[in-house]
């Protein structure tokens, strides 16, 4: 917590510029229900005109509540909000000055692109010449001119997002509020959106962009880091990251397994936080200049620490007081996986020419891969590319049209229940019974997996201790904090000591600390020889994987370690591609190939 003083204090924002702030918030409190916890807890900030400001934080931080209050959709419990000097709750012409795009874009899916535009133009009083001109502009800007007759519901995620943006831009508002426009949209569309928003800001528009992705926020002019209804820090990303200067390091040239190295590095008192990044381990120090002793980390004779540019996530983690540490108590209760001698340890999970068709649409097209014992294998791909379909066939939730999905050598088509007894599954929204208590969920899931009597009691007790669930056992699952729900879900999925674990977007929307804790557990399982398959669209989650399969248009277009994929997309213009750069490059290259074949 020594770092906190080094960052700009949120409680005392410097005075607004002479021209006045576009948005000013003073001592804003918002509660839902009279005695509920505050969703916004004494927020004070101002936003300069003509900037893109990122509102960054995990789910439940209060981003959406703040945006809705600014849009006049929620009345503050106390405090004041001023947009362009006016109260958004007052009756007046302010509504026409504010563009607001809600999370689901606010489009009518059974109306065409043109009909949506017409509706919002009428509602926002955009008429006559101005209307014609802004339609032309919007359609050119969003590249939707070819699709005016298409129903909004039949547009891709990226196109919906553009249309939503176009509808909120009608009437040329001075303030644009975007609620997580990047969610559910692949990186390519997200980049395009950035280009458009950047252009708008140059024209003088004030833009507030909320996001759970810290890497996305690095592109903003100004950032408000939010957590638990408070603004933790305010400032430009450069200033926030600058305060971390000298504290971000790569531990590189490892000869020991990187998961073991990370685990040992996190034990060093100098280390605040650490993550796996491809072949390296990325560390954040408590204080610049105080590096850990490499001896006990045992990273190998050639291992060195190299200083790297800090990231916004480093600042955020530092503000939150550091990561959860690298040791998972789960390691103590997980047995070493021992495979049957007949089984090929190189193919614990296997896909053979896996194909799934829905009508004449091929969701998965002849995908083949093998996952060896103890590997963390990630499936990555844009929405609708077929990664979920592939994943669901591998864990027996969908039947393949052609090909085989094998788990521990068992064909899921012929003996699905035998296979299911060997695998654990955890989905994005944690398949827990929210009306049951934590203990009842543990009892139910252990019972489902066939545990009875003493064995069941013992296993539940182990899980309670490993995940520190003791104080929460009699709480209704619905009321548990997100991080605890995640722990409980993982505990339930591991009741029967599966040799294979399937994770479907396990940490989307979760704060970085909780995500790290989760991966600490996953690393511990992998070290014990559990084979793990995960789908994700978080790029930093992809870095944790040993290997990644990139799925696009139903096909496996790339397969390799994160560093292999990054290296393969190195170009003179982009000598050190990030995971996202690699992702975009590979997809665009494949798309170009397709376009050549079918012009």
């Amino acid at each position: 917590m020594t770092s906190r003083a080094a960052l700009p204090r949120p409680e005392a924002p410097t005075a607004p510029p002479p021209g006045g702030a576009a948005i000013e918030v003073r001592d804003l409190v918002k509660r839902f229900g009279a005695d509920g916890p505050p969703a916004l807890d004494h927020i004070a900030t101002w936003i300069a005109p003509g900037t893109i400001t990122g509102l960054v934080g995990p789910d439940g931080a209060g981003k959406t509540t703040l945006l809705r209050t600014l849009a006049g959709l929620l009345a503050p419990t106390s405090g004041t909000v001023r947009i362009l000097g006016q109260d958004p709750m007052a009756k007046g012409s302010l509504r026409e000055q504010i563009g607001y795009m809600p999370q689901k874009f606010g489009l009518y899916e059974d109306l065409s692109v043109q009909e949506n535009l017409d509706l919002y133009a009428d509602l926002r009083n955009v008429l006559g010449d101005a209307r014609r001109k802004s339609f032309e502009q919007m359609l050119a800007f969003t590249d939707l001119a070819r699709f005016t007759d298409r129903l909004a519901g039949r547009l891709s995620g990226g196109m919906k997002q553009k249309l939503g943006l176009a509808c909120s831009l009608l009437g040329s508002p001075q303030v644009l509020l975007l609620d997580e426009p990047g969610v559910g949209v692949d990186p390519i569309s997200r980049r395009e959106l950035w280009r458009m928003v950047r252009e708008l800001a140059r024209g003088g528009m004030t833009i507030l962009w909320s996001t759970a992705y810290l890497d996305e926020a690095e592109l903003c002019d100004d950032v408000r880091l939010m957590n638990g209804g408070c603004i933790l820090a305010a400032g430009t990303p450069q200033a926030l990251m600058g305060a971390m200067q000298g504290r971000s390091l790569h531990l590189t040239r490892l000869s020991a397994p990187r998961r073991d190295v990370l685990q040992r590095a996190l034990r060093a008192p100098e280390v605040l936080d650490g993550v796996i990044q491809g072949d390296q381990v990325r560390l954040v120090l408590r204080d610049a200049g105080q590096r850990p002793d490499l001896g006990p980390i045992q990273a190998g004779p050639e291992a060195v620490l190299v200083e790297v540019a800090p990231r916004l996530e480093d600042a955020f983690i530092s503000l939150l007081g550091g990561g959860p540490g690298g040791d998972s108590p789960l390691a103590g209760v997980t047995r070493e996986v021992e495979l049957h001698l007949d089984l090929d340890p190189q193919a614990v999970i296997e896909a053979r020419e896996l194909t799934k068709r829905f009508g004449d649409f091929t969701a998965t097209d002849a995908v083949s891969f093998r996952v060896p014992k103890g590997e963390v294998f990630g499936l990555l791909g844009p929405n609708g590319a077929g990664k979920s379909t592939t994943f669901k066939m591998e864990c027996g939730l969908l039947k393949p049209t052609l090909g085989q999905a094998l788990v521990m050598g068992i064909d899921l088509k012929t003996s699905p229940s035998a296979a299911r007894q060997r695998l654990g599954y955890m989905a994005q929204k944690f398949s827990l019974y929210t009306q049951l208590t934590a203990r009842e969920n543990l009892e139910f899931f252990s019972g489902v997996y066939g545990l009875r009597g003493d064995a069941q009691r013992l296993k539940i007790q182990e899980m309670i201790e490993a995940f520190d669930l003791g104080p929460w056992l009699s709480r209704r699952t619905l009321d548990l904090p997100l991080g605890l729900k995640q722990r409980l879900a993982l505990a339930c999925a591991l009741m029967h000591e599966p040799e294979i674990l399937f994770l479907d977007e396990p940490t989307s929307g979760v704060d970085p600390i909780t995500r790290r804790e989760f991966w600490t557990h996953i690393n511990a399982l992998a070290q014990k020889g559990v084979t793990i398959m995960v789908t994700t669209h978080f790029m930093d989650e992809a870095e944790y994987c040993d290997r990644i399969g990139l799925i696009y248009r139903g096909r496996l277009i790339a397969l390799g370690t994160p560093d292999q994929l990054k290296r393969s997309t190195r170009t003179p213009e982009c000598p050190d591609p990030s995971m996202e750069d690699a992702f975009i490059h590979l997809i665009q290259a494949f798309q170009a190939q397709l376009d050549e074949v079918v012009p």
Binding site: F32, R68, A71, G72, L73, L74, A75, M89, K91, G92, S93, R95, E96, I98, Y100, M101, P102, Q103, K104, F105, G106, L107, Y108, E109, D110, L111, E115, D118, L119, Y120, D122, L123, R124, N125, L127, L151, G164, C167, S168
Partner: protein, 375 residues
């Protein structure tokens, strides 16, 4: 900012219209449901008994017995099946093939001659269906009485003077129950349609996240409410016209009132029904819950408390008071009047007033619950 802009209202109504046209479920509710439901109500619920299957055992073959047999067969209320023995016919009744069995005793002629007619026949009915059983019992008894009376006159025997009951049904001269059931069921059908149509529309905006976008525009409360009523009012009136057409053309139910009166009453009634659905949708913000609530709150009270099946005058006082809150009560009454009696202005005006008050109640409640914020 004006409370009502014609352009914004038109844009919202147009949007609603597109959604209606493109969403098969509202078309289904408005056009298919009334026809199906009307046929169900019109034909399946039939209070006449024109073809009850009746077994007959003739233990006496004397002239009097044969004469009675002919009367039974000619009455038109029964399909008579003669059987060899009582046991065989009872067996068929146990299988549900017969609704009742009449036994003409062996001493039928003798008993008649002695004037002990009552015990000369035996009527056995299937008590597992009490309604039908009592029909059979009373029809046969009625026939028996008539037959005895006629026989007495034929024999020119002196009879004690008796009160003669001559019944004549007014307003439904042929006493076809369909003629009063169909107008009543139109009221039930329209209650369901009205509530179902609007129960989805506000909840849908919440579920799909469009409400948020809509509220962030300069749209006013009045515009929002009207845009949720006008298009569905139009749709409801088409459904009403369809009901009328089906009743008059396909089901031969005579319509004796004026179309103008029907239009006014239907409009007022749709105000209540749509308002009811809209209120549920606004409060619940969830399509599934709102539709279930609409179905229950519209269907059951309109069926039970509208006077369409069960007469209001024979209900307990508390229930009778409750019926004043049920729009179908006024509408079912009005429709039965319009179909069977004609345009009786004082009666219809009272009903119209009741409907108007309920419309104000439901729409007022909806307006109260419609906010300009997300809370």
């Amino acid at each position: 900012m004006k409370a009502l802009s014609a352009r914004r209202l038109r844009a919202l109504c147009l949007k609603e219209a597109y959604q209606i046209i493109r969403d098969p479920s509202s078309i289904l509710v408005a056009f298919v449901m009334p026809v199906v439901l009307l046929f169900v109500f019109g034909y399946a619920i039939n209070l006449d008994s024109s073809s009850l299957r009746l077994g007959l055992v003739m233990e006496d073959q004397g002239p009097a017995a044969v004469q009675f047999e002919q009367t039974l067969k000619a009455s038109g209320n029964f399909v008579v099946e003669a059987g060899p023995s009582k046991a065989a016919l009872l067996e068929r009744m146990a299988h549900g093939r017969l609704r009742g069995v009449v036994v003409v005793r062996g001493d039928f002629g003798a008993r008649l001659a002695q004037g002990q007619g009552g015990a000369a026949i035996q009527v056995l009915t299937d008590g597992s269906e009490p309604n039908t059983a009592s029909f059979v019992g009373s029809y046969v008894e009625g026939l028996w009485q008539t037959w005895q009376q006629q026989r007495g006159q034929n024999l020119a025997r002196h009879e004690r003077p008796m009160i003669e009951v001559q019944s004549r049904a007014w307003f439904n001269p042929s006493t076809v129950s369909r003629n009063f059931l169909v107008p009543g069921s139109i009221a039930v059908v329209m209650t369901i349609i009205g509530a179902l149509l609007t129960s989805l529309v506000v909840a849908r905006e919440w579920e799909r996240g469009t409400m948020e976008a809509l509220l962030a525009t300069p749209v006013t409360k009045a515009e929002m409410l009207l845009s949720k009523i006008l298009p569905y009012y139009a749709l409801g009136m088409v459904a009403m016209a369809l009901c009328l057409l089906v009743a008059v053309v396909l089901m031969d139910v005579p319509f004796r009132g004026s179309l103008l009166a029907l239009f006014v009453l239907s409009s007022l009634f749709l105000g209540c029904a749509l308002g009811n659905g809209l209120f549920l949708s606004t409060v619940m913000k969830n399509q599934f819950n709102a539709a279930s609530a609409a179905l229950v709150s519209a269907f059951l009270p309109s069926m039970m408390l509208s006077g369409f099946v069960f007469e209001i005058s024979s209900m307990p006082t508390a229930l009778r008071a409750l019926t004043y809150l049920i729009p179908a009560r006024y509408f079912a009454g009005s429709l039965q009047t319009l179909f069977q009696a004609g345009t009786l202005v004082p009666l219809l005006a009272a009903n119209a007033l009741g409907l108007a008050l309920l419309t104000v109640l439901w729409l007022g409640l909806t307006a109260m619950k419609t906010g300009r914020t997300l809370e």
